[in-house]
Symmetry: C2
Subunit: 225 residues, 2 copies
């Protein structure tokens, strides 16, 4: 455990979390004012340094847990960012992770304590360092993956209406989808189950609530929206 690579230099490694939520039919990003120098006060993703006793994934999960109090969050690596001057303080190489959560799972009080806010992607301000680039890359990944991976359910409550699901697709893809065609496609996917529950909040008539059946999905192994 000692001295193999002694002649080489070490650098700080951090993780940055691109946390997406979905609210009022919009994709939202969790950002806050940076609370340390350099860049104090700038809008920024939430991140943290990787410790000696944890892997990158563990660091990302720890950071997400610190921020949200949630575990078992859907999370994907977006990539490593390593420009020399990307951090104005010292050399820091960072690995960005994209996470999807249900905004309802995030305690408002905890959110305020961390000084972070849900901001619409349309209204995204300039972010610290290269964070905007990370966000762009993450959205590109979401768009490419949404049809081959059950992403969308992570942004919704356990029970959701088809209209909600469609809005998630529209928010991620950035384009409108035909309602009839969408529902036709959904019907062919057997791990999206109709439940007996009815949502009466958003419409007078009431909408059927659906559920993502994870076991069924894992058995399927063929996914294709």
């Amino acid at each position: 455990m000692t001295g193999f690579y002694g002649e080489h230099s070490k650098v700080f490694v951090s993780v940055d979390c691109i946390v997406f939520g979905f609210d009022h039919n919009k994709l939202k990003l969790l950002i806050g004012r940076r609370q340390m120098d350099p860049g104090r006060g700038e809008w920024s993703l939430y991140g943290g340094f990787v410790r000696e006793d944890e892997s990158l994934e563990e660091a990302a999960n720890r950071t997400l847990y610190t921020l949200t109090g949630l575990t078992e969050i859907y999370m994907r690596q977006v990539g490593a960012f390593g420009a020399i001057d990307r951090d104005p303080g010292e050399r820091v190489i960072t690995v960005a992770y994209c996470a999807l959560i249900d905004v309802n799972d995030y305690d408002e009080k905890l959110r305020e304590e961390h000084g972070v806010e849900w901001v619409s992607l349309d209204e995204l301000p300039h972010l610290y360092s290269d964070h905007n680039e990370m966000v762009r890359k993450a959205i590109g990944q979401l768009r490419r993956r949404i049809n081959t991976e059950p992403l969308s359910f992570n942004l919704l409550p356990e029970l959701f209406t088809l209209t909600q699901l469609q809005h998630v697709y529209e928010a991620i893809l950035g384009e409108e989808i035909d309602k009839r065609n969408f529902r036709k496609r959904i019907k062919t996917i057997d791990f999206i189950e109709k439940t007996e529950h009815i949502d009466k909040l958003t419409s007078k008539r009431g909408a059927a609530l659906y559920r993502f059946n994870k076991e069924m999905y894992l058995n399927d192994s063929t996914f294709r929206l």
Copy 2:
């Protein structure tokens, strides 16, 4: 430039290069026997540590240049790998890059000096540390990207026959493609230009040589094989 993040710990960061070539209708990977401890003698990707004065991309390009003497190589980040014990020596976080080169561009003498070999993917041995995982991930990326990005030309000489191009697709996708359908698709892509040159090496009749027109591709901006 000093002391902002002093309380945190630094780690070694390296880059590993997953170099693909194409020869005898097979995808090949450039690997060699590791020449340092720990793991000396094990099959391994070629890599190197990231220096203080270079970005991740620069480190990857430098490493590729050291290995092959080539510049302007097609290169994509595969991802960061950061398990605590991934390297048996010390803690090293690594960023893997996938590169595609034309095997003919790689000088044999240089190759031997570095003690690396082209190995068929079918016959890939167990590699050092988590290198097999990197290779798997890189191939997955190639498969997903081959239809949205002009990857294949990087594995071929400037002039190539349609049969060669088809074999590249087959090697990457791991399945046979119908010749007529393939050539029909290629005809719809205007940045794959037929030249006046004829290849007489592989067939008695001779095959038309084609060229990838990069300028035309960049103007197009819509790619879809």
